[in-house]
């Protein structure tokens, strides 16, 4: 398989604490790859190592087939980046910021006008100095500078956080378009619904360690679902002791169950009872993610 990003056992230690510990990422080309983790999990540190901003204490990194940091020059024109928590040059105007960053590259800003129109950045906005921008406007400028030259690889660190829902959807459409054009997007986020919505692959990092890395669809297919049932009558929990069902919590008229296979056996049992309510999470990923986050690899 052709990997857009490949890290081998990268580790970063601050003082004695491992911020990133032995991480092996394999990001296939032409996909949207979600890098999920809570705040402080090591997402930004991983990205900063990929971008040659910090040096790994161990391990190696390849981006678009080039070894980092030695061949970083070769990929400069092919990547677009939205770093996390950065400050733009406050003294520059919006259009100056975009031109300033673009002019370092040997490529044309082919998507600039379209991006500006779609992100609703008009001439008046662009003529303002960045110091007068709202957080959302600054984020839009960052997104435009990252995508305007139509790069082969987008590396985005929590890019949609400060965008309103409408702009988030515009942004997601662009990610899909990039993917459909054979480009790769590496999206770091702590927002699970966002990752589920746009990503094909997911990797979860916790305390610097990679917990899982897989196709989202494969993960969903194999994941247990936690459902909550409430009844109008008293129940006998033993009726629910099925091969595919694990009872997490049983009360007089309520049950929390973990389903690890087809629903049919459970539905057969449910026919015996008058059900008051049935809560099934929209996606099994959420409970999986939360559980992973609480207990880590042991779960």
């Amino acid at each position: 398989m052709n990997f857009a990003i490949k890290t081998s056992q990268i580790t970063k230690i601050y003082n004695t604490q491992k911020a990133v510990d032995d991480v092996n990422l394999q990001v296939p080309g032409g996909c949207v790859f979600g890098y999920l983790g809570a705040n402080g999990a090591g997402k930004t540190t991983t990205i900063r190592m990929m971008l040659n901003l910090i040096k790994p204490d161990a391990g190696s990194i390849e981006i678009l087939g080039k070894s980092i940091p030695d061949e970083f020059n070769a990929i400069t024109n092919k990547i677009g980046v939205v770093p996390g928590e950065i400050t733009l040059y406050e003294e520059l105007r919006g259009h100056e910021t975009l031109t300033y960053f673009q002019d370092f590259l040997k490529t044309e800003p082919v998507l600039k006008e379209r991006l500006l129109a779609d992100f609703k950045l008009n001439k008046r906005d662009l003529d303002k100095k960045v110091r007068h921008y709202s957080q959302g406007m600054k984020q839009k400028i960052l997104l435009v500078q990252a995508m305007q030259h139509n790069p082969d690889l987008l590396i985005l660190d929590e890019p949609s956080e400060k965008l309103d829902p409408l702009m988030q959807n515009v942004f997601y459409d662009y990610l899909r378009e990039f993917k459909n054009n054979g480009k790769t997007v590496f999206l770091s986020s702590h927002n699970l619904p966002e990752v589920e919505k746009v990503c094909d692959y997911i990797a979860i990092i916790k305390d610097g360690r990679l917990l899982v890395q897989n196709k989202i669809d494969d993960l969903k297919r194999n994941l247990p679902r936690v459902i909550k049932l409430t009844f109008k009558q008293k129940i006998n929990p033993q009726d629910f002791d099925l091969e595919t069902v694990n009872i997490i919590k049983a009360e007089e008229k309520a049950l929390n169950l973990k389903i690890s296979g087809p629903l049919e056996p459970l539905l057969t049992v449910l026919k015996k009872y008058k059900t008051y309510n049935l809560e099934i999470p929209e996606s099994p990923l959420e409970s999986y993610f939360m559980e992973f986050y609480k207990t880590g690899l042991d779960s």
Binding site: L51, N52, K55, P83, T87, L92, D103, F104, Q145
Partner: protein, 271 residues
Amino acid sequence: MTLAFISFHHFKKIFKNQLRVILILMFFAFLIEMIIALILSTSVLRSYVEGYFSLMPPAFKQLTGFMGQNFVGNQFIAFGYGHPAILFILIFTPVSIASRYITAEIENRSIEILALRLNPRYKIVLTQYVFIVFMVLMIFLAMFLGSLGGKYFTSLSSEIDEGLILQIIAIGLLFFSAIGAIVTFIATLFSEKSLSFSWNIGVILFLFVYDALIRLWDQAHFLKPYSLFHWYQPVSISTEKYDFVTGVPVLIGLIILFLVLAVYNFNRRDL
């Protein structure tokens, strides 16, 4: 036109950003040298200054290198190039530029996009260094114009030798370029602008006090060649006592050494 080791695009941005500051500093530098020439040309003021300097303690004269009484025009003009106000401008300019365009960029992380686009990394350091040299050059140019203006507007032509002033400017340019290299290196060591600024000022202040002490203390005179500020003595140049043969290589050596250190450290450090 492109030079492999700097980015004109980045230089242009810094220039645009600092244009107002450059013009203000140039105006002050011009004004100071013009005033010095005016004092020199006005007999009443000149005798007043002569009298003033004759009252100064020997230690002060030793420190400034300017003896005051019965001075010639060149000496007084040279004194203007080492005047505390000028030293202040010429030292704070490199310190501010290095702290602003290296350390502050690291602190607020705006360097993250810049370092991705401006490759290899050392171009960031060298571009801001070239800008420091450019600013120092502009300030010296303004001073030179101030001296020339003073000379021609006040009919001092017989007393002032432009060749000597150009020698002072050449040594000054080398000296403050060396200061620029030192402060650039210090700026690459830190990730907080305030730390970079205070360490830079601290180091320059230490070097200045060290120079003052060894000039005032007779037994320590032998240490003079080992003092950085010893290599910028405009009055010594005007009296032809400056050791160009040692001074020029020392200053060039310092520039190369600290630039190499700055580039090496900036390339290896985490941003």
